[in-house]
């Protein structure tokens, strides 16, 4: 086995061009190896010292989140908490404090698990990843990134260097927000049984300007809910929220496993979609709902 510590991005890309796999926090790579799911790669390049890749920067187009930004950073970062709270909700639910301190957004996204927490809010927010290799850079929308459990379109020599989220709508009188909710059986060291991320823009009169929802752990990848245009121009009232939930349930194709049966997953993902949409809409309406939503209302909320 070879293990290289990259001190520059070019070092890292060169190592990957030579066949190395990147490791940042190691919270997926190392755990999978220890559990016998996937042996450690024969050649590894550590990228955790590439400080530039940990930057979170507001841009004219939105936000650029370096791939090495940790979950612990994201859940508290003012820019994320204010403008993309759904991503903060998801980051705050990942693993334990130890996992969140080492686990990175780039690692979570590129691990491509259908149960990843950050995937649904990012997909609902219309995010893309920046993939770099020695031969160039390309931007891939998340909707085109994942191809199956643990699989994505990145080539072996491509490194995810950033996640890009477009700016929320800023038209006069409109307000946008997002939320992520998951079904969990305990409050730490948990993995989503199912989950839903929602990104919503509401007009000054409270009607929906845009709505996007993505679902966790009900298909081979994180999926977007389609057919939500019917809600545009209408208020997101109780009946509309129930309809959102019903559509999400219908579009899920869950499996039965140790964590839940397919029918229970199908039911619960509708509940999660409804709650995520409600939380996002309430946040867009100016209500302060603490991060993560899971601790604020619905499952296990304090009051």
């Amino acid at each position: 086995m070879t293990f290289t510590i990259a001190t520059t991005l070019d070092d890292a890309l060169a190592a990957m061009a030579a066949g190395a796999r990147p490791v940042a926090g190691g919270s997926d790579l190392v755990v999978a190896a220890r559990h016998g799911k996937a042996p450690l790669p024969g050649s590894i390049v550590a990228i955790d010292r590439l400080g530039d890749l940990a930057q979170i920067t507001g841009t004219a187009d939105g936000v650029r989140i370096g791939a090495l930004a940790t979950h612990a950073t994201l859940m508290r970062h003012p820019l994320i908490v204010d403008s993309y709270p759904g991503l903060a909700d998801a980051s705050a639910l990942v693993g334990s404090p130890a996992t969140r301190n080492v686990g990175t957004l780039g690692g979570n996204v590129m691990n491509s698990s259908p149960a990843m927490d950050t995937g649904a809010p990012l997909l609902a927010l219309g995010a893309s990843v920046e993939l770099r290799s020695v031969t160039g850079t390309r931007i891939v929308p998340l909707g085109e990134l994942w191809t199956g459990p643990g699989r994505n379109v990145a080539a072996a020599d491509e490194l995810c260097t950033a996640v890009l989220i477009p700016a929320p709508a800023t038209a006069r009188g409109t307000a946008s927000s997002s939320a992520y909710v998951r079904l969990e059986y305990r409050r730490a060291m948990e993995i989503a049984v199912v989950g839903a991320g929602a990104s919503i823009t509401v007009a000054a009169d409270g009607t929906v300007e845009s709505i996007a929802i993505a679902l966790t752990a009900v298909a081979p990848t994180i999926i977007s809910v389609t057919g939500l245009d019917a809600f545009v121009g209408k208020p997101l009232d109780v009946a509309a929220l129930a309809a959102v939930g019903a559509i999400a349930s219908e579009q899920a194709s869950p499996i039965s496993d140790l964590r839940a049966s397919d029918s229970y997953r199908r039911h619960c993902v509708g509940v999660m979609a409804r709650r995520a949409a409600e939380a996002a809409a309430r946040r867009a309406g100016g209500e302060l709902i603490a991060i993560p939503v899971n601790r604020a209302f619905g499952i296990g909320a304090a009051r």
Binding site: L183, Y185, R187, A188, L258, A260, Y264
Partner: protein, 756 residues
Amino acid sequence: MPAATTPRFVRADGPDKVTGSGRYTADLTLTGMLAAKFRYAEIAHGRITRLDVSAARAMPGVFAVLTADDVPDVRFGPFVQDRTLFARDVVRYEGEVVAAVAAVNATVAQLAVDAIVVEYEPLPVITDLEAALAGDSLLVHDGWAGYGAGDPVVRDRNDASFSSITKGDVDAGLAEADHVVSSRYVADGCHAAPIEPRAVLAQWEGNKVTIWTSTQVPFDARAGVCETLEMPASRVRIIVPHLGGGFGGKCGFHYEAHIAALARAAKRPVRLVFSRREEFFAPDRRREGMIIDVQTGVRSDGTITARKAWIAIDNGAYTTDAGFFSQLAAMHVSGPYKIPNVHIDAHLVYTNLQPSGSVRAPTAPQACWALESHTDEVAKAVGMDPVAFRKLNAVDTGDIGPSGQTYGEIGVQRCIDEATALVDYGQALPDDEAIGVAIGWWPSFSVPSGAYLKIDGDGSAQIITGAQECGTGAVMTLRQLAADELGMNAEDFELVYQDTSVAPYDMGATGSQTLFNNGRAVVAAAGQVAEQLRSLAAEFLEAAPADIVLADGHAHVAGSPTSTVSIAELAGIAAGSELLIGHGSGTPPAAPPLAGSSCVGDLGMAAFVAPQFSCHAVRVRLDRDTGVVRVMEVGTAHDSGTIINEMGALGQVEGGVMMGIGQALTEGAQYDADGHQRNTGLLEYKLQTCADSPVIRTHFVQIVTPDAGPRGAKGLAEAPNVATAAAISNAIAKLVGQPVRQLPMTAERVWKAMQS
């Protein structure tokens, strides 16, 4: 008798454990040490048609490969001798050891394990308890009738231990009832899940072996090695480094003999360190699954007239210490109630699953969950508040219990009052919240135990005890008992413990018995040294020994505080003449008599020595959309007699409650149809975490109990793990409208109950 112990809890093992300087078994290395790996059956039931280890033995770096042919042909087991170290002819559960390898490192050892050729003729996998009890069922053990077994063990085919309790005339009692309520409850098996996976290290010197092992019961482990390798106890030494939790999972004899045999064959020290998966699926120590059918007759005024029950307990493939589970489960389904007519049958049923064995309060959380959920159903049938119903029917001082035991002063009624008050039972609650209440009981275990105590010439003292610390702090508290006897500080005592060649016998960290029995032994040993000190001080201070008071590290004459000499100075004098050495054992209290009942398969569990009682009251919140239940607040009250170390006792109760919440809601072993456990990791076997912890308030109903442990103490370590799941069940039933009849009451099961 000295005054009550200080509330401060001095843990001698604390700094080691917190700073990481402490050594656990897996931390130990010896020169030339080899790594051990096991070849497991990996199928639940099959006849071995071919076992060929020649390729493994020939591999470079492999020092020993052992099978059943390489060890004495001994069947062992504390109740039924149905077990062998290595599978012989038939494998009966997936974690059964077929062969063991010692190699230069773990990687080579695993390669050698993989190179062992084993072929099986598959046999039908028996997992259904009721089918296994049917007369025409296939047998898990064809040769069961030829096995040795203890005299009181009643066996028949797949029933490894039958027990019954009969009192009065149960059919007449049911006939005179105004209502008869029948319920069925099913509990899945679950695990002790200690954080430290077990490890064993063995080294031979001549014909003697020293074994470092993560056991809760070093003397039991030694006895197992002696029995299976046919050696006298004098040649086997068991040492336990710091133990990383046990919860019963490390009671019993497990792998010490395998590793000792490997080390002997390899002529090198050999160390075994389990993976998390192995810790889940291999050891013969799992909390038993259970089916409970229970029927109670009740008059319209709420008085119970009769109880009839049938219990089937999943024994798994081999009978470890589960032999007494049938009688213990019968006691827990009887419950601490005044019932004139009782008949309970309990069967311990062989299956092709992992063997069951004592996990913290064996049989109790499941049986109490079933009985107390049923009790709420009975109360509902007569239109009574469940707490008032319990107050009416629970035993009190002077009452006769379901097995015919007459109680001295006991606190179960006070426990109900205190626990319900702690959560303000009866308060108005939001419509997604409810409070459930349950009561439970547990015996204290009266067994022999020993300790030495010495004070050296410089005044420093040592307690040398056979007791085992499994994290409860019971051994740590021994220092306080000794200090109080001798007028010294707890910090003055070093503990020498967990070494069978150094200390006298103790049963180990099992049966909530450490302080109860070894506490008495340490008090007796300290008492002998106190006598020596009084005699020395009397001579030094020219007073009568009876007038000497030991306090604050000094001996002084009663009434003359200035006439004083330090214990250290007395120890210096003793160092030049008769040394300060005490030894103690103490007389274990006798089992109380029973009257008016009869028990078949009596293994000593029908009479509870120094019985402990508890009430847990739990406020839960239900997410009605998903069935997810959260425990918000717990009030507990425990009658465990005198509390010697309140901080330690609170830790036991809070830990027991958290374990109970996990059993109630998120744990549970899951099996496929072929008898493979599916959730053998900590992600899929969901223990509760700190983040899930509710507010827990505890009140100790302290009754100085005669015929009990030191100062009137009873046991405590297991009692807090009895009633929590039951109380949670009763809260859920209030919110759902009916009980969830399978344990654990997972979110999906709660949700399904809401749909029906």
